[in-house]
Protein backbone atom coordinates (compact mmCIF):
# COMPACT_ATOMS: atom_id res chain seq x y z
CA UNK A 1 0.00 0.00 0.00
CA UNK A 2 2.65 2.46 -0.94
CA UNK A 3 0.71 4.24 -3.70
CA UNK A 4 0.19 7.60 -2.10
CA UNK A 5 2.37 8.23 0.93
CA UNK A 6 0.52 10.05 3.71
CA UNK A 7 1.46 13.69 4.02
CA UNK A 8 2.11 15.55 7.21
CA UNK A 9 -0.91 17.79 6.80
CA UNK A 10 -3.11 17.37 9.84
CA UNK A 11 -6.76 17.00 8.81
CA UNK A 12 -8.24 15.91 12.15
CA UNK A 13 -7.05 17.01 15.53
CA UNK A 14 -8.40 16.46 19.01
CA UNK A 15 -7.13 17.86 22.25
CA UNK A 16 -8.09 16.33 25.59
CA UNK A 17 -11.38 15.42 24.01
CA UNK A 18 -13.79 13.97 26.57
CA UNK A 19 -17.41 12.99 26.49
CA UNK A 20 -19.67 12.15 29.38
CA UNK A 21 -23.23 11.15 28.61
CA UNK A 22 -25.79 12.45 31.08
CA UNK A 23 -29.53 12.28 30.73
CA UNK A 24 -31.76 15.11 31.89
CA UNK A 25 -32.04 13.96 35.49
CA UNK A 26 -28.33 13.29 35.75
CA UNK A 27 -27.64 16.76 34.43
CA UNK A 28 -29.97 18.40 36.93
CA UNK A 29 -28.58 16.46 39.86
CA UNK A 30 -25.01 16.81 38.59
CA UNK A 31 -24.55 13.10 38.71
CA UNK A 32 -21.46 11.53 37.16
CA UNK A 33 -23.11 9.92 34.10
CA UNK A 34 -21.27 7.61 31.69
CA UNK A 35 -17.83 8.73 30.63
CA UNK A 36 -17.52 7.30 27.15
CA UNK A 37 -14.30 9.07 26.19
CA UNK A 38 -11.61 10.70 28.25
CA UNK A 39 -8.79 12.92 27.15
CA UNK A 40 -8.35 11.77 23.60
CA UNK A 41 -5.40 13.42 21.90
CA UNK A 42 -4.77 12.58 18.29
CA UNK A 43 -3.77 13.94 14.93
CA UNK A 44 -4.76 12.33 11.69
CA UNK A 45 -2.78 13.10 8.53
CA UNK A 46 -4.04 13.50 5.02
CA UNK A 47 -3.91 10.32 2.98
CA UNK A 48 -3.53 7.82 5.78
CA UNK A 49 -5.75 5.01 6.93
CA UNK A 50 -6.34 5.61 10.60
CA UNK A 51 -8.14 3.19 12.88
CA UNK A 52 -9.80 3.36 16.24
CA UNK A 53 -9.75 -0.03 17.84
CA UNK A 54 -11.31 -1.23 21.02
CA UNK A 55 -13.95 -3.55 22.38
CA UNK A 56 -17.69 -2.83 22.48
CA UNK A 57 -18.44 0.29 24.44
CA UNK A 58 -14.89 1.61 24.35
CA UNK A 59 -15.95 4.91 22.80
CA UNK A 60 -15.30 4.42 19.09
CA UNK A 61 -18.70 5.54 17.83
CA UNK A 62 -18.67 8.32 20.40
CA UNK A 63 -15.42 9.63 18.94
CA UNK A 64 -16.79 9.48 15.40
CA UNK A 65 -19.92 11.37 16.39
CA UNK A 66 -17.83 14.03 18.09
CA UNK A 67 -15.75 14.40 14.93
CA UNK A 68 -18.93 14.81 12.92
CA UNK A 69 -20.60 17.31 15.26
CA UNK A 70 -23.51 14.98 15.97
CA UNK A 71 -22.71 15.13 19.68
CA UNK A 72 -20.73 17.76 21.53
CA UNK A 73 -17.64 17.46 23.73
CA UNK A 74 -18.01 17.64 27.49
CA UNK A 75 -14.53 19.13 27.48
CA UNK A 76 -11.60 19.41 25.13
CA UNK A 77 -11.45 20.33 21.49
CA UNK A 78 -12.06 18.78 18.14
CA UNK A 79 -11.08 20.13 14.76
CA UNK A 80 -11.69 18.79 11.28
CA UNK A 81 -9.87 20.74 8.58
CA UNK A 82 -9.20 23.32 11.24
CA UNK A 83 -12.89 24.02 11.95
CA UNK A 84 -15.29 23.01 14.65
CA UNK A 85 -17.60 20.39 13.10
CA UNK A 86 -20.41 21.58 15.34
CA UNK A 87 -20.66 24.96 13.71
CA UNK A 88 -19.12 24.49 10.29
CA UNK A 89 -21.55 23.19 7.70
CA UNK A 90 -19.00 23.58 4.91
CA UNK A 91 -16.63 21.07 6.45
CA UNK A 92 -19.28 18.46 5.77
CA UNK A 93 -18.81 18.93 2.05
CA UNK A 94 -15.33 17.52 2.49
CA UNK A 95 -16.16 14.51 4.64
CA UNK A 96 -18.26 11.41 4.12
CA UNK A 97 -19.73 9.27 6.87
CA UNK A 98 -20.65 5.63 6.65
CA UNK A 99 -22.56 4.85 9.84
CA UNK A 100 -22.64 1.54 11.66
CA UNK A 101 -25.65 -0.43 10.42
CA UNK A 102 -26.99 2.43 8.32
CA UNK A 103 -30.67 3.20 8.46
CA UNK A 104 -32.31 4.97 5.59
CA UNK A 105 -35.68 5.84 4.17
CA UNK A 106 -36.74 2.26 3.56
CA UNK A 107 -39.49 3.04 1.08
CA UNK A 108 -37.07 4.62 -1.40
CA UNK A 109 -35.14 2.48 -3.82
CA UNK A 110 -31.37 2.59 -3.96
CA UNK A 111 -31.29 5.12 -6.76
CA UNK A 112 -33.84 7.46 -5.14
CA UNK A 113 -32.00 7.26 -1.86
CA UNK A 114 -28.71 8.37 -3.35
CA UNK A 115 -30.58 10.99 -5.33
CA UNK A 116 -31.95 12.39 -2.06
CA UNK A 117 -28.48 12.77 -0.57
CA UNK A 118 -27.21 14.26 -3.83
CA UNK A 119 -29.98 16.85 -3.59
CA UNK A 120 -28.82 17.69 -0.08
CA UNK A 121 -25.41 18.32 -1.58
CA UNK A 122 -26.92 20.67 -4.11
CA UNK A 123 -25.99 18.59 -7.15
CA UNK A 124 -28.00 19.32 -10.27
CA UNK A 125 -30.00 16.65 -12.04
CA UNK A 126 -27.41 15.71 -14.62
CA UNK A 127 -24.53 15.59 -12.16
CA UNK A 128 -26.64 13.55 -9.75
CA UNK A 129 -27.55 11.00 -12.37
CA UNK A 130 -23.98 10.60 -13.50
CA UNK A 131 -22.51 10.35 -10.00
CA UNK A 132 -25.16 7.97 -8.69
CA UNK A 133 -24.82 5.62 -11.66
CA UNK A 134 -21.07 5.72 -11.32
CA UNK A 135 -21.20 4.80 -7.64
CA UNK A 136 -23.80 2.09 -8.11
CA UNK A 137 -21.54 0.62 -10.77
CA UNK A 138 -18.46 0.88 -8.60
CA UNK A 139 -20.17 -0.82 -5.66
CA UNK A 140 -21.83 -3.43 -7.87
CA UNK A 141 -25.29 -2.27 -6.90
CA UNK A 142 -26.59 -1.37 -10.36
CA UNK A 143 -28.91 -4.37 -10.53
CA UNK A 144 -30.39 -3.44 -7.13
CA UNK A 145 -30.91 0.22 -7.93
CA UNK A 146 -34.66 -0.17 -8.45
CA UNK A 147 -35.20 -2.29 -5.35
CA UNK A 148 -36.54 -0.75 -2.15
CA UNK A 149 -33.87 -0.16 0.46
CA UNK A 150 -36.10 -1.85 3.05
CA UNK A 151 -35.51 -5.17 1.29
CA UNK A 152 -31.72 -4.89 1.13
CA UNK A 153 -29.48 -7.39 2.87
CA UNK A 154 -26.87 -6.24 5.37
CA UNK A 155 -24.14 -6.33 2.74
CA UNK A 156 -26.18 -4.29 0.28
CA UNK A 157 -26.97 -1.75 2.98
CA UNK A 158 -23.27 -1.39 3.76
CA UNK A 159 -22.59 -0.81 0.08
CA UNK A 160 -25.31 1.77 -0.29
CA UNK A 161 -24.04 3.32 2.96
CA UNK A 162 -20.60 3.62 1.44
CA UNK A 163 -22.04 4.99 -1.81
CA UNK A 164 -23.92 7.66 0.12
CA UNK A 165 -20.74 8.61 1.95
CA UNK A 166 -18.78 8.85 -1.29
CA UNK A 167 -21.31 10.98 -3.19
CA UNK A 168 -19.53 14.27 -2.69
CA UNK A 169 -16.13 12.69 -3.37
CA UNK A 170 -14.97 13.53 0.16
CA UNK A 171 -11.43 14.08 1.30
CA UNK A 172 -11.98 12.17 4.53
CA UNK A 173 -14.22 9.19 4.84
CA UNK A 174 -15.36 8.01 8.25
CA UNK A 175 -16.42 4.39 8.52
CA UNK A 176 -17.99 2.88 11.62
CA UNK A 177 -17.42 -0.88 11.62
CA UNK A 178 -17.36 -1.10 7.82
CA UNK A 179 -17.21 -4.89 7.75
CA UNK A 180 -19.48 -5.84 10.62
CA UNK A 181 -21.98 -8.41 9.44
CA UNK A 182 -20.29 -8.96 6.07
CA UNK A 183 -19.31 -12.36 4.71
CA UNK A 184 -15.67 -13.02 3.72
CA UNK A 185 -16.24 -11.90 0.14
CA UNK A 186 -18.00 -8.73 1.27
CA UNK A 187 -15.23 -8.09 3.76
CA UNK A 188 -12.55 -8.49 1.12
CA UNK A 189 -14.47 -6.14 -1.19
CA UNK A 190 -14.72 -3.55 1.56
CA UNK A 191 -10.99 -3.82 2.24
CA UNK A 192 -10.34 -3.37 -1.46
CA UNK A 193 -12.49 -0.22 -1.36
CA UNK A 194 -10.46 1.14 1.54
CA UNK A 195 -7.22 0.49 -0.35
CA UNK A 196 -8.61 2.15 -3.42
CA UNK A 197 -9.72 5.22 -1.47
CA UNK A 198 -6.27 5.47 0.01
CA UNK A 199 -4.70 5.21 -3.43
CA UNK A 200 -6.94 8.07 -4.52
CA UNK A 201 -5.38 10.13 -1.76
CA UNK A 202 -8.38 10.07 0.56
CA UNK A 203 -7.99 9.90 4.29
CA UNK A 204 -9.81 6.93 5.77
CA UNK A 205 -10.81 6.99 9.41
CA UNK A 206 -12.31 3.73 10.55
CA UNK A 207 -13.50 2.00 13.70
CA UNK A 208 -13.21 -1.68 14.11
CA UNK A 209 -12.67 -4.51 16.48
CA UNK A 210 -11.38 -6.92 13.89
CA UNK A 211 -7.70 -6.89 14.65
CA UNK A 212 -6.52 -8.70 11.56
CA UNK A 213 -8.39 -6.23 9.39
CA UNK A 214 -6.63 -3.34 11.05
CA UNK A 215 -3.26 -4.98 10.75
CA UNK A 216 -3.60 -5.30 6.98
CA UNK A 217 -5.17 -1.96 6.24
CA UNK A 218 -4.04 0.74 8.57
CA UNK A 219 -1.14 3.09 8.85
CA UNK A 220 -1.77 4.36 12.32
CA UNK A 221 -4.06 3.32 15.14
CA UNK A 222 -5.49 4.28 18.47
CA UNK A 223 -6.30 1.60 20.95
CA UNK A 224 -9.17 2.53 23.23
CA UNK A 225 -10.49 0.79 26.28
CA UNK A 226 -13.43 2.24 28.19
CA UNK A 227 -12.72 5.65 26.72
CA UNK A 228 -9.06 5.71 27.60
CA UNK A 229 -6.24 5.70 25.09
CA UNK A 230 -3.98 2.71 25.62
CA UNK A 231 -1.80 3.01 22.53
CA UNK A 232 -1.49 5.60 19.82
CA UNK A 233 0.82 5.63 16.89
CA UNK A 234 2.29 4.12 13.81
CA UNK A 235 1.18 0.54 13.40
CA UNK A 236 4.61 -0.68 12.31
CA UNK A 237 6.42 0.76 15.27
CA UNK A 238 3.66 -0.44 17.55
CA UNK A 239 4.10 -3.98 16.32
CA UNK A 240 7.88 -3.92 16.03
CA UNK A 241 9.82 -5.56 18.81
CA UNK A 242 13.06 -3.63 18.85
CA UNK A 243 16.29 -5.60 19.19
CA UNK A 244 14.68 -8.92 18.32
CA UNK A 245 14.91 -11.07 15.20
CA UNK A 246 12.75 -13.90 14.02
CA UNK A 247 14.67 -16.91 12.62
CA UNK A 248 12.72 -19.56 10.74
CA UNK A 249 14.37 -22.91 10.09
CA UNK A 250 13.37 -26.13 8.37
CA UNK A 251 14.84 -29.65 8.16
CA UNK A 252 15.77 -29.38 11.81
CA UNK A 253 16.93 -32.72 13.20
CA UNK A 254 16.24 -33.79 16.78
CA UNK A 255 19.85 -33.15 17.71
CA UNK A 256 19.82 -29.70 16.12
CA UNK A 257 16.57 -28.90 17.87
CA UNK A 258 18.09 -29.72 21.24
CA UNK A 259 21.01 -27.35 20.56
CA UNK A 260 18.93 -24.57 19.03
CA UNK A 261 15.99 -24.37 21.41
CA UNK A 262 17.91 -22.84 24.34
CA UNK A 263 19.27 -20.12 22.05
CA UNK A 264 15.98 -18.21 21.80
CA UNK A 265 12.28 -18.10 22.51
CA UNK A 266 10.37 -20.56 20.34
CA UNK A 267 7.64 -18.86 18.34
CA UNK A 268 6.35 -21.78 16.31
CA UNK A 269 7.39 -25.35 16.03
CA UNK A 270 6.46 -28.47 14.08
CA UNK A 271 8.60 -31.36 15.23
CA UNK A 272 7.27 -33.87 12.72
CA UNK A 273 8.07 -31.57 9.79
CA UNK A 274 11.28 -30.38 11.35
CA UNK A 275 10.24 -26.74 11.34
CA UNK A 276 11.26 -24.32 14.04
CA UNK A 277 10.89 -20.59 14.48
CA UNK A 278 12.81 -18.73 17.13
CA UNK A 279 12.94 -15.20 18.45
CA UNK A 280 16.50 -14.19 19.26
CA UNK A 281 18.27 -10.98 20.11
CA UNK A 282 19.82 -9.29 17.11
CA UNK A 283 23.60 -9.11 16.65
CA UNK A 284 25.71 -11.90 18.10
CA UNK A 285 22.82 -14.09 19.17
CA UNK A 286 21.32 -14.10 15.72
CA UNK A 287 24.69 -14.78 14.16
CA UNK A 288 25.32 -17.70 16.54
CA UNK A 289 21.91 -19.21 15.92
CA UNK A 290 22.39 -19.10 12.18
CA UNK A 291 25.86 -20.65 12.28
CA UNK A 292 24.73 -23.38 14.64
CA UNK A 293 21.82 -24.18 12.39
CA UNK A 294 24.22 -24.26 9.43
CA UNK A 295 26.61 -26.59 11.19
CA UNK A 296 23.84 -29.04 12.05
CA UNK A 297 22.41 -29.10 8.54
CA UNK A 298 19.19 -27.17 9.19
CA UNK A 299 17.89 -24.91 6.41
CA UNK A 300 17.54 -21.22 6.98
CA UNK A 301 14.21 -20.00 5.58
CA UNK A 302 13.81 -16.52 7.03
CA UNK A 303 15.58 -13.97 9.14
CA UNK A 304 13.54 -10.85 9.79
CA UNK A 305 13.01 -8.17 12.41
CA UNK A 306 10.53 -9.44 14.94
CA UNK A 307 6.98 -8.10 14.68
CA UNK A 308 4.29 -8.80 17.17
CA UNK A 309 0.74 -9.28 16.11
CA UNK A 310 -1.80 -6.67 17.06
CA UNK A 311 -3.30 -9.27 19.30
CA UNK A 312 -0.11 -9.52 21.31
CA UNK A 313 0.09 -5.76 21.59
CA UNK A 314 -3.46 -5.84 22.88
CA UNK A 315 -2.62 -8.40 25.51
CA UNK A 316 0.31 -6.40 26.76
CA UNK A 317 -1.71 -3.21 26.91
CA UNK A 318 -4.35 -5.04 28.88
CA UNK A 319 -1.88 -6.29 31.40
CA UNK A 320 -0.58 -2.79 31.93
CA UNK A 321 -4.07 -1.27 32.06
CA UNK A 322 -5.19 -3.98 34.43
CA UNK A 323 -2.42 -3.09 36.82
CA UNK A 324 -3.34 0.61 36.66
CA UNK A 325 -7.10 0.29 36.81
CA UNK A 326 -8.49 -3.14 37.54
CA UNK A 327 -11.72 -4.11 35.85
CA UNK A 328 -14.94 -3.82 37.69
CA UNK A 329 -17.41 -6.65 37.72
CA UNK A 330 -19.36 -6.70 34.52
CA UNK A 331 -16.86 -4.60 32.65
CA UNK A 332 -16.17 -5.83 29.21
CA UNK A 333 -12.46 -5.26 29.00
CA UNK A 334 -10.02 -6.06 26.26
CA UNK A 335 -9.52 -9.64 27.41
CA UNK A 336 -12.99 -10.50 26.23
CA UNK A 337 -12.16 -9.16 22.81
CA UNK A 338 -8.92 -11.07 22.44
CA UNK A 339 -10.59 -14.27 23.50
CA UNK A 340 -13.15 -13.84 20.80
CA UNK A 341 -10.60 -12.97 18.17
CA UNK A 342 -8.72 -16.17 18.96
CA UNK A 343 -11.80 -18.35 19.02
Amino acid sequence: MAEAPPSNEVVIRTENLSKTYRNGAEQLLRMPGVTALSNLNMEVHRGEVFALIGPNGSGKTTTLKLLMGLIFPTSGEVEVFGSDPRTSVDVKRRIGFMPDGPYFYGHLNGYELLEFYANLLGMDRAATKQRVMELLEKLEMTTRAKQRVRTYSKGMLQRIGLAHALLQNPEIIFMDEPTSGLDPVGTADMHQMVRQMKSEGKTVFLCSHFLTEIEDLCDRVILLDRGRTLQYGDLNSLLAEPGKMRVRLSAVSAAARARLLPMGRPLAEDQAQGNLELVVADGTDTHNTISTANELGAHLDLVAPMRRTLEEVFMESIARQQADAPWQDGDRGLAHLVEREEG
Partner: protein
Protein backbone atom coordinates in the same frame (compact mmCIF):
# COMPACT_ATOMS: atom_id res chain seq x y z
CA UNK B 1 -29.37 27.02 1.26
CA UNK B 2 -32.86 26.60 -0.15
CA UNK B 3 -31.83 23.47 -2.07
CA UNK B 4 -31.26 21.35 1.01
CA UNK B 5 -34.47 22.62 2.62
CA UNK B 6 -36.51 21.72 -0.43
CA UNK B 7 -34.82 18.31 -0.75
CA UNK B 8 -35.72 17.54 2.86
CA UNK B 9 -39.25 18.86 2.40
CA UNK B 10 -39.72 16.68 -0.66
CA UNK B 11 -38.42 13.57 1.11
CA UNK B 12 -40.64 14.31 4.10
CA UNK B 13 -43.64 14.64 1.87
CA UNK B 14 -42.81 11.44 -0.01
CA UNK B 15 -42.24 9.53 3.21
CA UNK B 16 -45.43 10.84 4.82
CA UNK B 17 -47.84 10.10 2.00
CA UNK B 18 -46.70 6.49 2.08
CA UNK B 19 -47.72 6.16 5.71
CA UNK B 20 -50.90 4.25 6.23
CA UNK B 21 -51.94 6.25 9.27
CA UNK B 22 -52.19 9.40 7.16
CA UNK B 23 -54.39 7.61 4.68
CA UNK B 24 -56.62 6.55 7.55
CA UNK B 25 -56.89 10.14 8.75
CA UNK B 26 -57.78 11.31 5.25
CA UNK B 27 -60.42 8.58 4.90
CA UNK B 28 -61.88 9.54 8.26
CA UNK B 29 -62.12 13.13 7.10
CA UNK B 30 -63.84 12.12 3.87
CA UNK B 31 -66.14 9.85 5.85
CA UNK B 32 -67.09 12.72 8.11
CA UNK B 33 -68.04 14.82 5.09
CA UNK B 34 -69.99 11.89 3.63
CA UNK B 35 -71.82 11.38 6.91
CA UNK B 36 -72.62 15.07 7.12
CA UNK B 37 -74.26 14.88 3.69
CA UNK B 38 -76.23 11.79 4.69
CA UNK B 39 -77.39 13.23 7.98
CA UNK B 40 -78.13 16.69 6.68
CA UNK B 41 -81.33 15.45 5.04
CA UNK B 42 -82.65 14.45 8.46
CA UNK B 43 -82.35 17.95 9.85
CA UNK B 44 -84.75 19.61 7.48
CA UNK B 45 -84.33 23.32 7.04
CA UNK B 46 -81.03 23.18 8.84
CA UNK B 47 -79.41 21.03 6.16
CA UNK B 48 -77.07 23.68 4.94
CA UNK B 49 -76.04 24.74 8.41
CA UNK B 50 -75.39 21.12 9.29
CA UNK B 51 -73.05 20.59 6.34
CA UNK B 52 -71.02 23.67 7.17
CA UNK B 53 -70.79 22.86 10.88
CA UNK B 54 -70.04 19.22 10.49
CA UNK B 55 -67.66 19.70 7.57
CA UNK B 56 -65.55 22.37 9.21
CA UNK B 57 -65.37 20.33 12.40
CA UNK B 58 -64.05 17.49 10.21
CA UNK B 59 -61.31 19.78 8.98
CA UNK B 60 -60.40 20.77 12.51
CA UNK B 61 -60.24 17.17 13.73
CA UNK B 62 -58.24 15.93 10.76
CA UNK B 63 -55.93 18.90 11.14
CA UNK B 64 -55.38 18.17 14.80
CA UNK B 65 -54.66 14.53 13.96
CA UNK B 66 -52.19 15.46 11.23
CA UNK B 67 -50.40 18.01 13.40
CA UNK B 68 -50.00 15.45 16.19
CA UNK B 69 -48.83 12.66 13.92
CA UNK B 70 -46.49 14.73 11.79
CA UNK B 71 -45.27 17.08 14.50
CA UNK B 72 -44.98 14.44 17.18
CA UNK B 73 -43.46 11.55 15.31
CA UNK B 74 -41.69 12.85 12.22
CA UNK B 75 -38.42 14.06 13.73
CA UNK B 76 -38.34 11.66 16.72
CA UNK B 77 -38.87 8.84 14.21
CA UNK B 78 -35.87 9.92 12.17
CA UNK B 79 -33.79 10.20 15.31
CA UNK B 80 -34.80 6.67 16.31
CA UNK B 81 -34.04 5.29 12.88
CA UNK B 82 -30.76 7.22 12.85
CA UNK B 83 -31.65 8.80 9.53
CA UNK B 84 -30.93 12.17 11.05
CA UNK B 85 -27.26 11.20 11.40
CA UNK B 86 -26.89 10.60 7.70
CA UNK B 87 -28.62 13.88 6.85
CA UNK B 88 -26.74 16.08 9.30
CA UNK B 89 -23.38 14.73 8.17
CA UNK B 90 -24.13 16.16 4.75
CA UNK B 91 -23.73 19.92 4.42
CA UNK B 92 -27.13 20.53 6.00
CA UNK B 93 -27.52 22.76 9.02
CA UNK B 94 -29.88 21.84 11.80
CA UNK B 95 -32.03 24.79 10.87
CA UNK B 96 -32.34 23.60 7.28
CA UNK B 97 -33.29 20.15 8.49
CA UNK B 98 -35.93 21.46 10.89
CA UNK B 99 -37.41 23.91 8.41
CA UNK B 100 -37.38 21.36 5.58
CA UNK B 101 -39.29 18.95 7.79
CA UNK B 102 -41.79 21.66 8.61
CA UNK B 103 -42.35 22.59 4.97
CA UNK B 104 -42.77 18.97 3.94
CA UNK B 105 -45.34 18.36 6.66
CA UNK B 106 -47.17 21.58 5.77
CA UNK B 107 -47.35 20.39 2.17
CA UNK B 108 -48.88 17.10 3.29
CA UNK B 109 -51.48 19.00 5.31
CA UNK B 110 -52.23 21.21 2.34
CA UNK B 111 -52.80 18.25 0.06
CA UNK B 112 -55.04 16.50 2.56
CA UNK B 113 -57.02 19.73 2.95
CA UNK B 114 -57.43 20.03 -0.82
CA UNK B 115 -58.54 16.42 -1.10
CA UNK B 116 -61.14 16.99 1.59
CA UNK B 117 -61.98 20.48 0.41
CA UNK B 118 -63.19 19.54 -3.05
CA UNK B 119 -65.98 17.18 -1.90
CA UNK B 120 -66.81 19.59 0.89
CA UNK B 121 -67.27 22.50 -1.50
CA UNK B 122 -69.32 20.26 -3.79
CA UNK B 123 -71.57 19.23 -0.88
CA UNK B 124 -71.92 22.85 0.19
CA UNK B 125 -73.09 23.95 -3.25
CA UNK B 126 -75.42 21.01 -3.53
CA UNK B 127 -77.12 21.77 -0.23
CA UNK B 128 -77.03 25.53 -0.65
CA UNK B 129 -80.59 26.90 -1.16
CA UNK B 130 -79.56 28.58 -4.43
CA UNK B 131 -76.73 26.12 -5.19
CA UNK B 132 -74.39 29.02 -5.11
CA UNK B 133 -70.67 29.10 -4.63
CA UNK B 134 -69.50 31.25 -1.77
CA UNK B 135 -65.98 32.73 -2.09
CA UNK B 136 -65.70 32.75 1.70
CA UNK B 137 -65.71 28.97 1.58
CA UNK B 138 -62.19 28.41 0.20
CA UNK B 139 -61.04 31.19 2.50
CA UNK B 140 -62.54 29.40 5.49
CA UNK B 141 -60.77 26.23 4.45
CA UNK B 142 -57.52 28.12 4.02
CA UNK B 143 -57.90 29.42 7.58
CA UNK B 144 -58.40 25.83 8.74
CA UNK B 145 -55.19 24.95 6.93
CA UNK B 146 -53.36 27.77 8.71
CA UNK B 147 -54.75 26.63 12.04
CA UNK B 148 -53.39 23.16 11.38
CA UNK B 149 -50.00 24.57 10.42
CA UNK B 150 -49.95 26.58 13.66
CA UNK B 151 -50.64 23.38 15.59
CA UNK B 152 -47.94 21.64 13.58
CA UNK B 153 -45.44 24.32 14.57
CA UNK B 154 -46.40 23.95 18.23
CA UNK B 155 -46.07 20.16 18.01
CA UNK B 156 -42.67 20.40 16.33
CA UNK B 157 -41.43 22.71 19.06
CA UNK B 158 -42.70 20.34 21.74
CA UNK B 159 -41.10 17.34 20.04
CA UNK B 160 -37.65 18.92 20.08
CA UNK B 161 -37.44 18.62 23.84
CA UNK B 162 -40.05 16.10 24.91
CA UNK B 163 -41.30 12.65 24.07
CA UNK B 164 -43.78 11.91 21.31
CA UNK B 165 -46.58 11.03 23.70
CA UNK B 166 -46.13 14.23 25.66
CA UNK B 167 -46.10 16.16 22.38
CA UNK B 168 -49.42 14.64 21.33
CA UNK B 169 -51.06 15.37 24.67
CA UNK B 170 -49.68 18.89 24.86
CA UNK B 171 -50.70 19.62 21.27
CA UNK B 172 -54.22 18.50 22.12
CA UNK B 173 -54.11 20.83 25.10
CA UNK B 174 -52.99 23.72 22.92
CA UNK B 175 -55.89 23.01 20.59
CA UNK B 176 -58.45 22.92 23.39
CA UNK B 177 -57.18 26.06 25.09
CA UNK B 178 -56.87 27.78 21.72
CA UNK B 179 -60.47 26.99 20.85
CA UNK B 180 -61.75 28.56 24.06
CA UNK B 181 -59.11 31.25 24.23
CA UNK B 182 -61.73 33.96 24.68
CA UNK B 183 -63.00 32.31 27.86
CA UNK B 184 -59.50 31.73 29.14
CA UNK B 185 -58.84 35.43 28.71
CA UNK B 186 -62.05 36.19 30.61
CA UNK B 187 -60.96 33.88 33.41
CA UNK B 188 -57.73 35.80 33.58
CA UNK B 189 -59.56 39.09 33.79
CA UNK B 190 -62.12 38.08 36.37
CA UNK B 191 -60.02 35.59 38.30
CA UNK B 192 -60.23 35.57 42.10
CA UNK B 193 -56.60 35.15 42.95
CA UNK B 194 -53.50 36.66 41.42
CA UNK B 195 -52.10 33.21 40.69
CA UNK B 196 -55.21 32.34 38.73
CA UNK B 197 -55.03 35.61 36.84
CA UNK B 198 -51.39 35.04 36.05
CA UNK B 199 -51.80 31.45 34.85
CA UNK B 200 -54.83 32.13 32.66
CA UNK B 201 -53.34 35.38 31.46
CA UNK B 202 -50.13 33.76 30.29
CA UNK B 203 -52.03 30.86 28.77
CA UNK B 204 -54.32 33.16 26.81
CA UNK B 205 -51.30 35.08 25.54
CA UNK B 206 -49.06 32.21 24.43
CA UNK B 207 -51.70 29.86 23.08
CA UNK B 208 -53.13 30.92 19.71
CA UNK B 209 -56.71 32.09 19.53
CA UNK B 210 -58.28 29.60 17.17
CA UNK B 211 -61.60 31.40 17.29
CA UNK B 212 -59.98 33.89 14.93
CA UNK B 213 -59.39 31.10 12.42
CA UNK B 214 -63.02 30.01 12.43
CA UNK B 215 -65.08 31.65 9.68
CA UNK B 216 -68.15 29.55 10.36
CA UNK B 217 -70.38 32.48 11.30
CA UNK B 218 -69.37 34.55 8.29
CA UNK B 219 -70.02 31.55 6.11
CA UNK B 220 -73.46 30.78 7.47
CA UNK B 221 -74.59 34.38 7.51
CA UNK B 222 -73.02 34.89 4.08
CA UNK B 223 -71.39 38.03 5.33
CA UNK B 224 -68.64 39.79 3.41
CA UNK B 225 -65.11 38.96 4.41
CA UNK B 226 -63.38 41.16 6.94
CA UNK B 227 -60.04 41.31 5.11
CA UNK B 228 -58.36 43.26 7.83
CA UNK B 229 -59.18 40.53 10.30
CA UNK B 230 -57.89 37.84 7.94
CA UNK B 231 -54.66 39.69 7.19
CA UNK B 232 -53.81 40.61 10.76
CA UNK B 233 -55.41 38.09 13.11
CA UNK B 234 -55.06 35.05 10.90
CA UNK B 235 -52.27 35.33 8.33
CA UNK B 236 -50.13 37.81 10.23
CA UNK B 237 -50.58 35.92 13.46
CA UNK B 238 -49.71 32.60 11.82
CA UNK B 239 -46.48 33.99 10.40
CA UNK B 240 -45.46 35.52 13.70
CA UNK B 241 -46.38 32.44 15.69
CA UNK B 242 -44.47 30.13 13.34
CA UNK B 243 -41.45 32.41 13.38
CA UNK B 244 -41.29 32.36 17.17
CA UNK B 245 -42.09 28.69 17.58
CA UNK B 246 -39.65 27.47 14.94
CA UNK B 247 -36.90 29.74 16.26
CA UNK B 248 -37.26 28.30 19.73
CA UNK B 249 -37.47 24.79 18.28
CA UNK B 250 -34.23 25.50 16.44
CA UNK B 251 -32.55 26.58 19.70
CA UNK B 252 -33.54 23.30 21.35
CA UNK B 253 -32.70 21.27 18.29
CA UNK B 254 -29.22 22.80 18.06
CA UNK B 255 -28.46 21.32 21.45
CA UNK B 256 -29.76 17.87 20.64
CA UNK B 257 -27.32 14.98 20.42
CA UNK B 258 -27.84 12.03 18.11
Amino acid sequence: MMGAILAIAKATYRESIRQRVLLVVLLLGLLLIGVSIAFSSLSTGEEFRFIVDFGLTGFVMVGLGLACILGGFMIPGEIDRRIVMTVLTKPVSRFQYLFGKFLGAALVIFIVDVLMGIPFIAAYMWKHPQHQFNPVLPLALFCMFLQTVVLLGAAMLLSTFSSSSFTVIATGFVYVVGSVNKYVAQLAEHGDSRVQKLIFGVLAKIVPNFQNFDLRQALLAEMPVDWHHIAVDVVGYTILFLFVVLSVAWLFFSEREF
